[in-house]
Protein backbone atom coordinates (compact mmCIF):
# COMPACT_ATOMS: atom_id res chain seq x y z
CA UNK A 1 0.00 0.00 0.00
CA UNK A 2 1.09 3.55 -0.69
CA UNK A 3 -0.43 6.79 0.55
CA UNK A 4 -1.29 9.43 -2.06
CA UNK A 5 -1.68 13.14 -1.23
CA UNK A 6 -2.95 15.97 -3.43
CA UNK A 7 -2.77 19.67 -2.59
CA UNK A 8 -4.16 23.07 -3.57
CA UNK A 9 -5.46 23.38 -7.16
CA UNK A 10 -4.78 19.68 -7.86
CA UNK A 11 -6.72 18.56 -4.77
CA UNK A 12 -9.59 20.84 -5.81
CA UNK A 13 -9.62 19.61 -9.40
CA UNK A 14 -9.64 15.96 -8.28
CA UNK A 15 -12.07 16.51 -5.45
CA UNK A 16 -9.87 14.28 -3.29
CA UNK A 17 -7.07 15.10 -0.85
CA UNK A 18 -5.67 11.67 -0.09
CA UNK A 19 -6.09 8.06 -0.99
CA UNK A 20 -4.63 4.70 -0.05
CA UNK A 21 -3.67 2.55 -2.98
CA UNK A 22 -2.33 -0.93 -3.68
CA UNK A 23 0.58 -0.23 -6.02
CA UNK A 24 -0.09 -1.77 -9.48
CA UNK A 25 2.46 -4.44 -10.52
CA UNK A 26 4.12 -2.53 -13.36
CA UNK A 27 4.36 0.86 -11.60
CA UNK A 28 7.81 1.54 -10.19
CA UNK A 29 8.43 5.29 -10.48
CA UNK A 30 6.39 8.39 -9.59
CA UNK A 31 6.07 9.24 -13.29
CA UNK A 32 4.66 5.77 -14.02
CA UNK A 33 2.21 6.16 -11.14
CA UNK A 34 1.17 9.57 -12.39
CA UNK A 35 0.49 8.18 -15.90
CA UNK A 36 -1.41 5.29 -14.37
CA UNK A 37 -3.61 7.69 -12.34
CA UNK A 38 -4.22 9.84 -15.44
CA UNK A 39 -5.91 6.82 -17.11
CA UNK A 40 -8.73 6.95 -14.55
CA UNK A 41 -10.75 9.69 -16.24
CA UNK A 42 -10.54 12.87 -18.29
CA UNK A 43 -10.62 14.77 -15.01
CA UNK A 44 -7.64 12.89 -13.54
CA UNK A 45 -5.83 13.20 -16.86
CA UNK A 46 -6.34 16.95 -16.87
CA UNK A 47 -5.56 17.53 -13.17
CA UNK A 48 -2.25 15.64 -13.27
CA UNK A 49 -1.05 16.95 -16.63
CA UNK A 50 1.29 19.90 -16.97
CA UNK A 51 5.03 20.18 -16.61
CA UNK A 52 5.12 22.24 -13.45
CA UNK A 53 3.52 19.71 -11.08
CA UNK A 54 5.83 18.88 -8.18
CA UNK A 55 6.17 15.48 -6.56
CA UNK A 56 7.36 14.54 -3.09
CA UNK A 57 8.06 11.08 -1.69
CA UNK A 58 7.99 10.92 2.11
CA UNK A 59 8.18 14.74 2.35
CA UNK A 60 11.17 15.09 0.01
CA UNK A 61 10.88 16.66 -3.45
CA UNK A 62 11.81 14.11 -6.13
CA UNK A 63 12.14 13.85 -9.90
CA UNK A 64 9.85 11.74 -12.09
CA UNK A 65 12.23 8.78 -12.22
CA UNK A 66 12.27 8.35 -8.42
CA UNK A 67 11.38 4.83 -7.35
CA UNK A 68 8.35 4.06 -5.20
CA UNK A 69 8.58 1.60 -2.34
CA UNK A 70 5.68 -0.01 -0.53
CA UNK A 71 4.64 2.16 2.40
CA UNK A 72 5.70 5.43 0.72
CA UNK A 73 3.73 8.66 0.97
CA UNK A 74 3.57 10.25 -2.49
CA UNK A 75 2.31 13.82 -2.92
CA UNK A 76 1.51 15.91 -5.98
CA UNK A 77 1.11 19.65 -5.85
CA UNK A 78 1.44 22.84 -7.91
CA UNK A 79 4.39 25.27 -7.54
CA UNK A 80 4.46 26.63 -4.00
CA UNK A 81 3.36 30.20 -3.22
CA UNK A 82 4.03 30.75 0.48
CA UNK A 83 6.01 33.46 2.17
Amino acid sequence: MVQLQFFASIREALGVGDEQLELPEDVRTVMELRYWLQQRSANWDQALSGTNILTAINHELVQGDANITDGDEIAWFPPVTGG
Partner: protein, 137 residues
Protein backbone atom coordinates in the same frame (compact mmCIF):
# COMPACT_ATOMS: atom_id res chain seq x y z
CA UNK B 1 13.29 27.61 15.73
CA UNK B 2 10.60 26.98 13.14
CA UNK B 3 6.83 27.03 13.62
CA UNK B 4 3.76 26.58 11.43
CA UNK B 5 0.57 27.89 13.02
CA UNK B 6 -2.87 29.35 12.38
CA UNK B 7 -2.57 31.94 15.17
CA UNK B 8 -0.90 35.31 14.72
CA UNK B 9 2.58 35.80 16.15
CA UNK B 10 4.21 38.64 18.11
CA UNK B 11 7.25 39.84 16.12
CA UNK B 12 8.54 41.92 19.01
CA UNK B 13 8.34 39.09 21.54
CA UNK B 14 10.12 36.74 19.12
CA UNK B 15 12.90 39.27 18.55
CA UNK B 16 13.25 39.81 22.28
CA UNK B 17 13.48 36.06 22.96
CA UNK B 18 16.13 35.82 20.26
CA UNK B 19 18.10 38.73 21.69
CA UNK B 20 18.15 37.50 25.28
CA UNK B 21 18.87 33.93 24.11
CA UNK B 22 22.00 35.09 22.28
CA UNK B 23 23.46 37.00 25.24
CA UNK B 24 26.62 38.83 24.20
CA UNK B 25 27.31 36.72 21.12
CA UNK B 26 25.22 38.69 18.65
CA UNK B 27 25.74 42.15 17.16
CA UNK B 28 23.03 42.04 14.49
CA UNK B 29 19.49 40.72 14.21
CA UNK B 30 17.83 41.08 10.80
CA UNK B 31 14.18 40.18 10.46
CA UNK B 32 11.60 39.99 7.70
CA UNK B 33 7.83 40.25 8.13
CA UNK B 34 5.60 39.28 5.22
CA UNK B 35 2.13 40.86 5.19
CA UNK B 36 -1.06 40.37 3.19
CA UNK B 37 -1.26 43.36 0.92
CA UNK B 38 -3.76 44.73 -1.52
CA UNK B 39 -3.49 44.58 -5.31
CA UNK B 40 -1.51 41.37 -5.48
CA UNK B 41 -1.32 40.87 -9.25
CA UNK B 42 -3.98 43.49 -9.82
CA UNK B 43 -6.84 41.93 -7.86
CA UNK B 44 -8.25 43.45 -4.74
CA UNK B 45 -7.89 40.90 -2.00
CA UNK B 46 -10.48 40.65 0.73
CA UNK B 47 -9.12 37.45 2.25
CA UNK B 48 -6.49 34.83 1.69
CA UNK B 49 -6.34 31.16 2.68
CA UNK B 50 -3.02 29.40 3.13
CA UNK B 51 -2.94 25.66 2.60
CA UNK B 52 0.12 23.60 3.44
CA UNK B 53 1.42 20.04 3.56
CA UNK B 54 1.70 19.13 7.25
CA UNK B 55 4.86 17.20 7.96
CA UNK B 56 6.67 18.17 4.78
CA UNK B 57 6.31 21.88 5.56
CA UNK B 58 8.11 21.54 8.88
CA UNK B 59 10.87 19.46 7.29
CA UNK B 60 11.34 22.02 4.50
CA UNK B 61 11.52 24.93 6.96
CA UNK B 62 13.96 23.03 9.21
CA UNK B 63 16.20 22.49 6.21
CA UNK B 64 16.06 26.16 5.16
CA UNK B 65 16.96 27.25 8.70
CA UNK B 66 19.72 24.64 9.12
CA UNK B 67 21.30 25.58 5.78
CA UNK B 68 21.27 29.27 6.71
CA UNK B 69 22.74 28.64 10.17
CA UNK B 70 25.54 26.54 8.69
CA UNK B 71 26.36 28.73 5.72
CA UNK B 72 26.34 32.11 7.53
CA UNK B 73 27.40 30.91 10.97
CA UNK B 74 24.26 32.20 12.63
CA UNK B 75 23.91 32.13 16.39
CA UNK B 76 20.13 31.71 16.04
CA UNK B 77 17.34 31.74 13.48
CA UNK B 78 13.54 31.94 13.43
CA UNK B 79 11.00 30.97 10.79
CA UNK B 80 7.29 31.29 11.62
CA UNK B 81 4.68 30.75 8.90
CA UNK B 82 0.94 31.03 9.31
CA UNK B 83 -1.66 28.85 7.59
CA UNK B 84 -5.44 29.09 7.27
CA UNK B 85 -7.52 32.22 6.66
CA UNK B 86 -5.77 35.61 6.63
CA UNK B 87 -7.08 39.14 6.13
CA UNK B 88 -5.55 42.24 4.57
CA UNK B 89 -2.61 43.56 6.69
CA UNK B 90 -2.24 40.27 8.54
CA UNK B 91 1.21 38.90 9.17
CA UNK B 92 1.94 35.80 7.04
CA UNK B 93 5.54 34.99 7.76
CA UNK B 94 8.37 35.99 10.07
CA UNK B 95 12.03 35.23 9.46
CA UNK B 96 14.95 36.37 11.62
CA UNK B 97 18.71 35.78 11.67
CA UNK B 98 21.07 36.57 14.56
CA UNK B 99 24.78 36.88 13.85
CA UNK B 100 27.87 38.57 15.27
CA UNK B 101 28.06 40.62 12.03
CA UNK B 102 25.37 42.43 10.11
CA UNK B 103 26.30 41.33 6.59
CA UNK B 104 25.75 37.67 7.44
CA UNK B 105 22.49 38.46 9.20
CA UNK B 106 21.17 40.26 6.10
CA UNK B 107 22.30 37.52 3.69
CA UNK B 108 20.93 34.70 5.84
CA UNK B 109 17.57 36.39 6.43
CA UNK B 110 17.11 37.05 2.72
CA UNK B 111 18.20 33.50 1.86
CA UNK B 112 15.64 32.03 4.27
CA UNK B 113 12.66 33.97 2.91
CA UNK B 114 13.73 33.47 -0.73
CA UNK B 115 14.22 29.72 -0.30
CA UNK B 116 11.06 29.26 1.73
CA UNK B 117 9.16 30.78 -1.19
CA UNK B 118 10.44 28.10 -3.60
CA UNK B 119 10.90 25.05 -1.37
CA UNK B 120 8.26 25.02 1.37
CA UNK B 121 4.86 23.52 0.49
CA UNK B 122 2.47 26.42 1.09
CA UNK B 123 -0.22 27.55 -1.34
CA UNK B 124 -2.13 30.83 -1.28
CA UNK B 125 -5.73 31.07 -2.41
CA UNK B 126 -7.11 34.60 -2.72
CA UNK B 127 -10.68 35.76 -2.34
CA UNK B 128 -11.13 38.49 -4.94
CA UNK B 129 -14.27 40.33 -6.09
CA UNK B 130 -14.39 37.90 -9.05
CA UNK B 131 -14.04 34.77 -6.92
CA UNK B 132 -11.40 32.53 -5.40
CA UNK B 133 -8.15 31.97 -7.24
CA UNK B 134 -4.96 30.08 -6.52
CA UNK B 135 -2.03 32.47 -6.58
CA UNK B 136 0.51 31.78 -9.31
CA UNK B 137 -1.81 29.83 -11.62
Amino acid sequence: MIRVQTEDFDSGAELEKMRTGCAGKVGAIVSFIGLVRDLNQGNQISQLTLEHYPGMTEKALEKVAADAIEHWNLVDSIIIHRVGPLMLDNRIVFVAAASPHRKNAFLACEYMIDTLKTDAPFWKQEDTPVGKRWVGT
